[in-house]
């Protein structure tokens, strides 16, 4: 049924820390790896080794440059996967019932055997979180690794999304955002986590933690600090020495 549930028992989702993400794309690769080998149609690539490669990904990392009024610009790496919205517009547009939001944990999924590949759900998502697989002709999206988080065949520490498990910087956190006591909810409260495009009214479950100010980006000349030892550390003779110095002087004479 593609009407949305009134409410869900839990709100499982991700908290993404823009302060610590180093933009390594490890989550992109682990996501593609896990989701190609497990639930549903594999995530295909087209012309992978040719001139115009492209493929299906459930998680992509953008990079943005933020230029403040004063001071140095900051580079922010920005991972984006499905935000498992509470008011998911992608679910209600689906004509077949293939797209749905689970009552028990709020995960938004696609039942691939019902999907006719009309693409409307991808049109309805403001975040670009759904991609039509060109080989399978069905809609693919982040499953919140539903086949890992409840999977008792996996060791306990692996029962979390592949992207979260992989991230070397600890920039992705998984948990129940419906429970104010959960670690992820605490993190969001403490760091002032935000929704993406709130004006779209999708009420995303996933939250983004804004980057902290990089107070050490500025050198002493920018910050106006005076270091009393600095003059002693300045290079005395910046000309080359040894063989290079001799070469330099000889060439000068020619």
């Amino acid at each position: 049924m593609t009407t949305l549930p009134q409410q869900t028992d839990r709100k499982l989702g991700l908290v993404i820390d823009l302060d610590t993400c180093v933009g390594c794309h490890a989550c992109v690769i682990s996501c593609k790896g896990w989701n190609t080998e497990n639930y549903g149609a594999p995530l295909s690539d087209q012309d992978a080794y040719g001139a115009d490669p492209s493929g299906t990904f459930l998680n992509r990392v953008h990079s943005y440059e933020v230029q403040p009024e004063a001071g140095a610009a900051q580079l922010v790496h920005f991972p984006k996967s499905c935000l498992h919205c509470d008011d998911a517009p992608c679910v209600t547009v689906c004509p077949t019932g293939a797209s749905y939001k689970r009552v028990e944990d709020g995960i938004v999924l696609v039942n691939e055997s019902d999907c006719i590949g009309c693409g409307l759900c991808a049109w309805a998502c403001p975040y670009g979180a759904r991609e039509m697989d060109q080989a399978a002709g069905v809609m693919k999206k982040c499953t919140l690794c539903v086949d890992r988080i409840y999977n008792e065949n996996l060791p306990e520490e692996d029962r979390q999304p592949a992207c979260v498990r992989t991230c070397p910087a600890g920039a992705r956190h998984f948990g129940d955002l419906g429970d104010p006591e959960s670690a992820v909810s605490q993190l969001v409260a403490e760091r002032g986590g935000v929704d993406l495009m709130p004006e779209q009214g999708t009420k995303p479950v996933n939250k983004y933690l804004p980057p902290r100010p990089r107070d050490q980006l500025q050198g002493p000349e920018d910050s106006g600090e005076i270091d009393v030892l600095a003059p002693f550390l300045a290079p005395i003779d910046s000309g080359p020495k040894g063989f290079l110095g001799w070469l330099d002087r000889t060439l000068e004479k020619l």
């Binding site: 493929g55 933020v66 900051q74 922010v76 547009v93 019902d114 999907c115 998502c125």
Partner: protein, 291 residues
């Protein structure tokens, strides 16, 4: 948005077909027998032909029947129901006219209403997309309906009505463009709200996720031909409204002029529908620093 030929053909042709069915439903022209057969055949060719074209862009057309299941929430599902209901009702009504020389008035009126409802549901599929500010407006259904009714009048040979309705449809079309050009800026979505980094400074897309293209860029960030938009708008209005009007007003009005008027109108509607997609900016483009 990517202007898929199948979808453009579908919405233009079936719009005209259902428009003609609506006129036939209210008994204008009051045809029976063979003449009725020709009118109905034309309407069905357009309406059903368009519907079939629309299945070409599906990833799994063989599962199309499943699309009837979610009429409670989905406009695409409602469109499926409305179109089948309209086509069946009008088939029964048409059979009465063609084979028994009888006009079943209630059936005709119901069929006319269902035909227009089908056009409305088609328009609502686009209108509901908050992600495409250019479409998310009452102007979209007005645009689709006014074109469908005017095109139907032209096909039904209702000369006076067609002239008035063409002018109306043209005015609605220009208003739709005028509003559409301001829609993205008015939507409030920009790179600052998309990344929520706007409070820290001005945000610029520095590097996309991949060096290659992807489904999202191909489907939603279609920019080719936008630079010709103004020219194409002039062409669309000329073909859709002005030329048919001139032909209808010409003193030597005969079947050839009427046929030319219909063809010109159809070409104009196709151009306008192409622009409807090609000019539509999806907010996901913002994440890629594009529009």
């Amino acid at each position: 948005m990517h202007p898929a030929p199948s979808v453009i053909l579908f919405s233009s042709l079936s719009g005209m077909g259902f428009g003609l069915l609506a006129w036939l439903g209210i008994g204008l022209p009051a045809v029976t027998g063979w003449v009725a057969f020709v009118f109905f055949a034309l309407a069905y060719l357009l309406a059903v032909g368009g519907l079939i074209a629309s299945t070409f862009h599906l990833g799994h057309p063989e599962r199309a029947l499943k699309a009837f299941s979610q009429w409670r929430s989905s406009w695409l599902s409602r469109e499926a129901w409305a179109s089948v209901a309209a086509l069946l009702t009008m088939a029964a009504y048409g059979a009465g006219l063609v084979f028994y020389d009888t006009r079943l008035w209630p059936l005709g009126l119901l069929g006319a209403a269902l035909s227009l409802l089908t056009v409305l549901t088609t328009a609502m599929i686009y209108t509901q997309m908050k992600t495409v500010p250019r479409w998310h407006s009452v102007m979209t259904p007005l645009n689709f309906l006014s074109l469908s009714i005017a095109g139907g009048a032209l096909l039904a040979g209702q000369v006076t009505a067609a002239m008035v309705l063409l002018v109306l449809a043209g005015a609605v079309q220009i208003a739709t463009w005028w509003r559409g050009d301001r829609a993205l800026a008015a939507s409030g979505s920009d790179i600052a709200t998309a990344t929520r980094l706007g409070e820290k400074g001005s945000v610029r897309a520095f590097e996309p996720p991949h060096t290659g293209s992807n489904y999202l860029l191909r489907e939603f960030v279609y920019q080719i031909g936008r630079k010709h938009a103004l020219k194409l708008r002039v062409i669309a209005i000329t073909l859709m409204v002005l030329l048919p009007l001139l032909l209808l007003l010409s003193p030597v009005f005969h079947h050839l002029a009427a046929a030319l008027a219909v063809l010109s109108h159809a070409a104009g509607v196709l151009t306008s529908r192409w622009l409807f997609f090609a000019q539509a900016e999806h907010v996901v483009g913002i994440y890629y620093g594009k529009r």
